[in-house]
Each structure stands twice: as C-alpha cells, then as structure tokens.
Amino acid sequence: MELISLFPTWYEPAVGSGWVVGFIATFHILASHTSVGAALLFAYLSYRAWKDDRDDYLDFVKKYGLFLLVFTYVAGSLTGVGIWYSTTVASPNGIGALIHSFVWKWATEWVFFVIEVIGIYMIVYLVGKVDKKTHMKISVIFGIASFATMVIIVGILSFMMVPGKEAWFEDGGYLLGFYGDNTFIQLAMRAMFMLTMTAVVGGIIVAGIKDQAFKKEMTRKLGWLGIIATLLGAAMFQLYLNSVPDYALLVMENRLPDYFGPSIAIVLALTIGYFILTMVQPKFLVSGFAGTMAIVILVAGLWPEETARESMRKPWVAGQYVYSNQIIGRDVPGMDIQSQLPLIEKIGILKAHPFTPEHLQTVNDGNKIQAGEFITMTYCANCHSVSDSGIRPLHRYFPDQVNEEVMARYIRGALVPGNIAYMPKMPMLESEVQAIAAYLTKINNDGLAATSLAISEEIANREAKQLADKADLVVSMKPTTEEMQ
C-alpha cells in the first residue's frame, strides 16, 4: 500500500482554522514579547536600584512583575502551548516539520522557560526579602534567560519562511536550517518591538504611581525606550522585507489588503505620539489609556504584521518544502525527504491519503460528491472555507451558476499543474478532477445544505445497495429444493 503522511482535516467553518492559529499566536506574541522586554527592563532597574540604592525602582519592578505574572505569564505560557495545540490540529505536518528538525532547540528553550518561571516568582516575591545586590543578580540572570527564549524561537520562526541557508536543502542539519539573514534581522525587529510593548504596558503600572516626581521619571524612561525602540523597529521591518525571498514580496504585494501599509504607518505615528504626549504631560498617563494603547498596537499593528508574515510564505507553510495543505512538495536530499507529488500523480490523492475510507478510494457515480468533499477538505480547507463565512470562501472565486465542465477545466488547468503562484500544486486523477468539480459546483450553485443532502443520499443509496447485495448473496447461497432432496 502506498500512502503519504496526511492526517484528518479539522475544518472550522466560522472563522477558519488558520485564523484560530492567528488569534492565539498574536495574543501570545503580545504577552511573550512584553515579558521578554520587561525582563530586560527589570535587569536594568534592579541594577540601578543596587547601584544608586533606590527602593522605588524595586517597588516598580515588583508591581510590574506581579502584573506580568498574572497576565502575561499565565496567558503567555498557556497561549505558547496553545500555538502548538492549534498548529497541531490546523497544520500537523507544518508543526511536525519544525518539531522534527528543531526538537533539541525547543528542549533547550524549555530549560530557559523553567528558569524564567522560577525567576519571575523570585523577582516579585523577594523584593525586600533579599539584599539589593542579590536581587540584581537574579534579575540579570532572568533577563538573559528571557532573551534566550526569544533568540531560540526566532530561528524556528524564520525556518517557517525559509531555511537559514539554501545549503540546508542539500546538506540538512540543524545549524544550516536555523541561522540565516532572516533569523538575525527578524530577531532585531522583534527585539525592538518587545521593548516598545514593554514601554506601553509599563505605562499601566506607571499610571498607578502616587509620587508625582517618580511618576515623571519613569514616564520619561519608558517614553525614551518606547520612541527609540519604535523608530528602530520600523527601520528593522524595512530591512526584514529585504531579507525575504523575492517571490514572498510579490505575494505580499498581491495578497495583502490595501489597508496594510497605511495601518502600519498610523500605528507607528500613534505610538510615537502617545510616548511624546505622556512624557510632556505625565498626568495624561492613566491605566485605561495605556491599556487601550496596548490593544491598539495588538489589533492594528501586530495583527497585520503577523498576517503579512503568514501570507508571504505561501504556498509553503514550513521550510519551503511542506505545502500549506500539508503535502510535501519538494525533495530535501539533506534530510532524506522526497516530494510526495509524483506518488499522488500516479495513484491519486484519494488512494494516497491514509484516512480515505474504502468506499471513497475510487470515484464512481455513487460517491462523486462525497469524494469531491474529501478532496476539497484535504487540498483546500486549510486556506479556504466552503461556507459563506470564514477564511477566503471558495465561492468568491467562481461565477454564479458555473457548470461542472467549466469548473473541471479550471481545476485541470490551474490547480493540478500548480499554475497559481501562491497556491500549491494539487495533482489529481481525472476521476478526482470530476469529483471535486462536482462538489465545488454543487456548493457554489446550490449551497452547503443542498450539498450535504446530496452526500446523505449517496450514503443512503450505497448502504441500500450493500444491503441488497447481501440479500442477493444470502438468496444465492440458499440450497434449492432439488439440492435439499
């Protein structure tokens, strides 16, 4: 039996599985970047508290640390696990490709996670219980450990876009996959972003400071941190765009919505304006304002940026060899990986998929719509919804009342040979083309309910036929009167 590594499909009709991953990942990035940035800020403040004998810096660290402990560490660590869970169900081979190449790097990051979690408790609860020098040492270790989690994950995230070095495809190995242009520039960009977030979220804590002179001092410190980090971050983003493959930029230009550029510019201006305003007039800094700014940056800044990164790597989802629909579309001799496309071309996607039930392995008049549904879920559901809502609904791509022949021609000409730049190549047997065309036409013209009904009828007819066949078999096995005598 010839099978490829394909899992069942999880299809989320309301928003799309890709968006579920996106929601969780964006929230995690907000929480984790703030945590790492704050850890570096704590190291600095704790050092100053020791050097200048300042208790108020340590009080600030304690308050900010407790806030982080409850919000970003709880939500951050769980949404971090959430990224694994959501990609596991939405893109098992995508996350599998990363896990199998970088398991030890993730395990190394885990060592730093453990240090981080114990460290944040110590930083918060030991203020006033240990001398300032010891607190400083704990904070410095904590700051470096937090940053270590960032540097490790960035290499893995970069691999999703493109392996560090082109030589990885031929030679394999962790180092060539991990380190590259994209890795370091992305690290610099994220480091700046995390400092911006630290300054913005820190405003929530500064807003609660009663001592006006100290409030002014901290507002200034965070303000300068925020302005410098935001400007450098914007510059790094431009550099980052230069570090990605040309086709990724082409995809970005074609695929991203028009509001992408302006929204990034507006968020930049808003962020810098916010820091200047609060530095000039610290009384404007109230916790609600700072909290709102954190949300604004999340929704208008981080979300488009992450969406762009996700869109740009299409049709690939990991390492430029796993397609977004989970099929391996390229040879990687360095890892002894072979493209799965030739096998699918030979035997069809239905026979190659390990979860295709027996009754769908060969297309016939009695299972055509259901086979089409199976193929659509396998090939398309990662990026397209079959309903009206959700991610890139399929019906938007086809005219009303399209017929099966036109649909089949489109599939044969565009999808099967892989003629759409940002979409995977999707090999199918001619019978499979007919099946998916029948399904997509039905969905497009008659809607989901009618298509589900048609599939139910196919199943009912098949079961009825099986019963009838069984009955025939029983009848044919009955001995005749003559034989009984």
Partner: protein
C-alpha cells in the same frame, strides 16, 4: 480495517524528517518529564483542594493551612505548565502519528483546553487577590466560589488531556471517528475515548502528594524562630494521614483501570509493569508509617522524593502500556524511527540542561530556600554570592556562543 493496514497507516503518518537522535532518548525524557509534570499537577490539585476546604472551614488551623497551600497551588500550576511543555514536545517527536491524529479528531477540545486553562488559572488568582493571606485572624474568605470553579475547570482540562491520550491508542477506531456512519466529520467536536478509572487514578494521587507536601512544610517552617509548632504538628499529622490513606485509596481506581484495559493490551495487566505502580503506592504508605515519626528527621523532606517515585512508576507503566498496544498488537515500533543524527543540537540541549540549568537553578533554589527559612532581609554568604556570579557568567557565555556560532554560519 485490518491490523496490517492500520500498521501501514501509522508508519505512513510518520514525519519524513525523522528524528535527530535515538528514539529511546526521547522516550526516556518524555517519561521523566511527564512524571514531573503530573506530580506538579497533582500537587496543585491537592493543595488547591485544601485551599477550597479551608475556605469553608471554621477551624483556624485549616484556614491557615489553606492560605499557605494556596501559595503552593499557584506556583505549582506555573511549574506544571512549564514542565508540561517538555513531554508535549517529546510526544510529538516519536508519537506524532498517534498524537496528531488524536488531536485533530477532537480539535475543538484541543483549542478549548487553552481557554479553559487560562480561565481556571485566573480564577485561582482571583480568589487569591480577593483574600490575600486569609486565615490569619481575618474574616471569612470572599468569592469562595472562584476556588471551587477553578478546581472544577482544572479537572475538565485534565479530562480533555486524558481523553486525547486514550484516543492515541485506538488506531482501529480513528477511521470510524473521522467518518461516523460513512459521513465526514471535520468539526473535531467530540471527545471519543476515555477510561474514568484511569482518570480517577491519576487525579486521586493528589491526596498522597499533598500529604507529602504537608509533612515537608512542617519540617521547612519549623526551623524558623517564629514557628508555631502546635499548628505545624497538626499539619504534619494530617499530611501523614493523607499519605497513608491516599496511597491505599488510589489502588482502587488503579485496579479498575487494569481490569478495563482494552483487548489490544491484554497481556499488560498481569505484567511486572502493572504490578510495580501498585507496589509503589503500598510502599509509600508503609514507608510513611515507619519513617515519619521523628519531626526533625530528613525523611520529612525525603517524603517528597518517595512520592515522586510512586508517581514515576505508573508513568513508566503507562509508557510500557503504549508500547504493548502499539507495538505488541498493531506492530508499530517507535524505536525504528528514521534517525538523522544531529550532534550539535543534541549536545546543545544536554549541555544547556546540565550546565546552565544546573548553575542557575542551583543558585535560584538556594536563595529561595534560604529566604524561606530566614526572618527579615536575607544576605547571602560569600559562597552563595559567588554562585550567583558564576551563574551570570555561564548564562552570558551561552548567549555569546549563540551569536558567535550563528554569525559564523551566516557568513559561510
């Protein structure tokens, strides 16, 4: 589907990238870190249950104990989550065919798990912030519902994980779960498999684990000048009772689990791997009865290690059970995973774990320990202070190595 077809299917689902080191190492690390994770889960549940009981009790000792155990419960959740990352990583390395399939088939629950964990965790903090350090002569705790709700939601999260790990072991039912009655179900809205006995066993271990913590708590606090020995002795006596009764109590659901194992694991129940966990808990009860009579003895700390061993044994048994089902019945051997050795990243992990982890956590835990036993501001000795400096050097050198090596590779 025939067994041979299921075997082919599982082999096909393996990730073609292979693994960067021998599978046995990932399995061993998976077992060890799972045992650590579940130990802290049980500690969290046990101390959380004490917190909840103390919230409704009029006994001042119970209230004080509840307040102290809430601190442990909060930290235990954090530690359980962060340690839980490791077995979650390793399960994806060698059990990816089984784990990914089980998850995708219950995708909504997998996503829901994250949300409900955040809810449960925040509810625990909510209770903490509403009450602070209650039980020190303060009024009745407020928002007592929140600690109960927190525990209930944590149990639901546990049930989801229990169900997913059960689903891994039923490849014969995967197809049926994906296409019930012949129609495709891509919603992932069902939890398909469970064994309530197994779930009850892992949850009830919280009783002896919390008992061990109460005994160790007495020993830890009793050296302080301001120690209230009457209260601490009461706590330790209660802990001993929980240890002994709890260790024997868990044998009931354990037996239930062994009796209800699927047919695919028919040889496991009578094997040494199923008997050892039971012996472990009987041993813990006996050891606690014999060795915890002297309040100053080191055994009052060792009890935590003994409880951990008792948890480790079923963690090993659980792994052997997986092997029995997947290999013994279905012929799927996870030891023959394609290996493409990557020495650098392998050594990087073990080096970071031993050198960075050892230096930093040794320093952190020494400070935390000393602070817990000191009154007022703790100033470390020269040796402890030097350990801090060494830890900073070690972690800084790690960072230097990361960039130096990275830039070198980049420039090639």
């Amino acid at each position: 589907m025939e067994v041979a077809q299921l075997t082919d299917m599982m082999y096909a689902l393996r990730n073609p990238a292979g693994v960067p080191f021998y599978p046995i190492v990932f399995i061993a690390l998976g077992v060890l870190t799972f045992a650590m994770h579940i130990f802290f889960v049980q500690l969290m549940l046990g101390t959380g249950a004490i917190t909840a009981y103390g919230a409704f009790s009029n006994n001042p000792y119970w209230q004080r104990l509840a307040s102290a155990m809430l601190e442990i419960a909060k930290v235990s959740v954090s530690v359980a989550i962060v340690i839980g990352v490791a077995p979650l990583l390793f399960v994806q390395v060698v059990y990816d065919p089984q784990w990914y399939t089980a998850n995708v088939l219950s995708a909504r629950w997998v996503i829901g798990f994250i949300v409900i964990m955040i809810m449960a965790y925040w509810l625990m903090y909510y209770y903490y912030f509403r009450n602070g350090k209650f039980g020190q002569g303060a009024d009745k705790p407020k928002a007592r519902w929140s600690i109960i709700a927190s525990l209930a939601i944590f149990l639901l999260a546990g049930w989801i994980m229990h169900s997913l790990t059960s689903q891994m072991l039923h490849p014969e039912l995967w197809q049926q779960w994906y296409m019930p009655n012949g129609a495709m179900d891509t919603t992932g809205s069902q939890l398909h498999a469970n064994n309530p006995w197994r779930f009850a066993f892992f949850i009830l271990i919280a009783i002896p684990v919390a008992g061990a913590m109460m005994v160790a708590y007495r020993r830890f606090k009793s050296v302080r000048e301001d120690a209230d020995h009457a209260y601490l002795n009461w706590t330790a006596e209660l802990g001993k009772k929980w240890l002994k009764v709890g260790s024997l109590l868990v044998l009931i659901p354990y037996l239930g689990w062994m009796v209800t194992l699927p047919e695919t694991a028919e040889n496991f129940a009578g094997s040494i791997w199923s008997i050892l966990p039971a012996l472990g808990f009987i041993g813990l009860a006996v050891w606690s009865h014999l060795r915890l009579n002297d309040a100053k003895s080191i055994c009052n700390y060792m009890v935590l290690a003994m409880a951990f061993i008792a948890v480790l044994l079923p963690s090993i048994g659980r792994e052997v059970l997986r092997y029995d089902i997947l290999n013994g019945f279905f012929g799927y051997n996870f030891f023959d995973y394609k290996v493409i050795i990557d020495w650098y990243s392998t050594l990087l992990f073990f080096g970071t774990f031993a050198v960075v982890g050892g230096a930093v956590l040794g320093y952190f835990l020494t400070i935390a320990w000393k602070v817990g036993q000191s009154k007022g501001v703790y100033v470390p000795s020269a040796a402890v202070d030097r350990a801090g400096t060494i830890a900073i050097w070690v972690i800084s050198l790690w960072m230097v190595h990361f960039f130096v090596l990275g830039f070198w590779v980049w420039m090639q």
